[in-house]
């Protein structure tokens, strides 16, 4: 039987929304306080959903320890307590939460093979979040 397993992780990181090709005024206009020059930070929550057949012996879609280990190496070690603007993944992209969510989806889908990656949801604050789902 196919089930979906979701796990939530925390990443504390700073960022600044700024496009080099824009003028200072354009950046202020488009990004508002997110463009303040020295950056700011968030407690992000990353929710990862994977799916698969529940193994008859273990009762699991995948071993949580494998998912935790993959997220630790790929995401937490890299992004937690870091400045997203300095990350190579954002060398050409603004570290909006949309782009952060997309980067996380790409990193996980390229590395985690114990179950199908269904969805990545990144909560920037308790009031806004972004989701990317696997293409049907």
């Amino acid at each position: 039987m196919k089930a979906y397993l979701s796990r939530r992780y925390r990443i504390c990181a700073s960022h600044r929304l700024n496009v080099a090709a824009f003028s200072e005024e354009q950046n202020r206009l488009v990004f508002g306080k997110c463009n303040h020059p020295y950056g700011h930070g968030h407690n992000y929550t990353v929710e990862v959903t994977v799916s698969g057949q529940v193994d008859e012996t273990t009762g699991m879609v995948c071993n949580l320890a494998d998912l935790d280990g993959c997220v630790q190496t790929l995401l937490l070690d890299r992004f937690d307590h870091a400045n997203l603007n300095r990350d190579p993944g954002f060398s050409r992209a603004v570290p909006t939460t949309e782009n952060f969510c997309t980067l996380i989806f790409e990193l996980l889908s390229g590395a985690f093979d114990r179950a199908a990656l269904e969805r990545v949801r990144v909560e920037e604050t308790g009031n806004n979040f972004f989701e990317l789902e696997r293409k049907a």
Binding site: M1, A3, Y4, T57, A65
Partner: protein
């Protein structure tokens, strides 16, 4: 078509152990969850049903009735119980979050008048949950 979700809570103990695996394999696969003395969680159950809105009552179904069904079929059976030792569905099936969601689906299917079961979501902790949609 409308989706309606009702939450309920139960607190239970369990452990992860498969007789198909050796003691060493159980320890390797399940880690601290394989401790045969068991441990416990405050589970949160989220049941989502699907149906048409009755033009007279404005209800898909009476939520009091859904609450009562969840209490009778799930909470009364699972709350303050040892899932491995007291629930027939886990006598030979590991009570992982995935399998709990599947078992609750089985308990509720065909028992919700006027609406069909859409999703069973079981939170083991606020950061870990499993979804089952009745898929094979």
């Amino acid at each position: 078509m409308m989706l309606i979700t009702r939450r309920a809570d139960f607190s239970s103990s369990h452990f992860y152990w498969s007789d198909r695996l050796s003691p060493e394999e159980n320890a390797r696969v399940f880690g601290k969850c394989a401790n045969r003395n068991g441990h416990g969680h405050n589970y949160t159950l989220e049941v989502t049903v699907r149906g048409e809105i009755d033009p007279v009552t404005g209800f898909v179904l009476d939520l009091k009735e859904l609450k009562e069904i969840l209490r009778r079929e799930v909470v009364d059976a699972y709350d303050h119980r040892h899932l491995n030792l007291e629930l027939p569905e886990f006598r030979h099936t590991v009570p992982t979050t995935e399998n709990i969601a599947i078992a609750i689906w089985g308990r509720l299917r065909e028992r919700i008048p006027g609406a069909s079961l859409h999703r069973v979501r079981v939170y083991e902790t606020p950061d870990l949950f499993a979804d089952y949609y009745g898929e094979a």
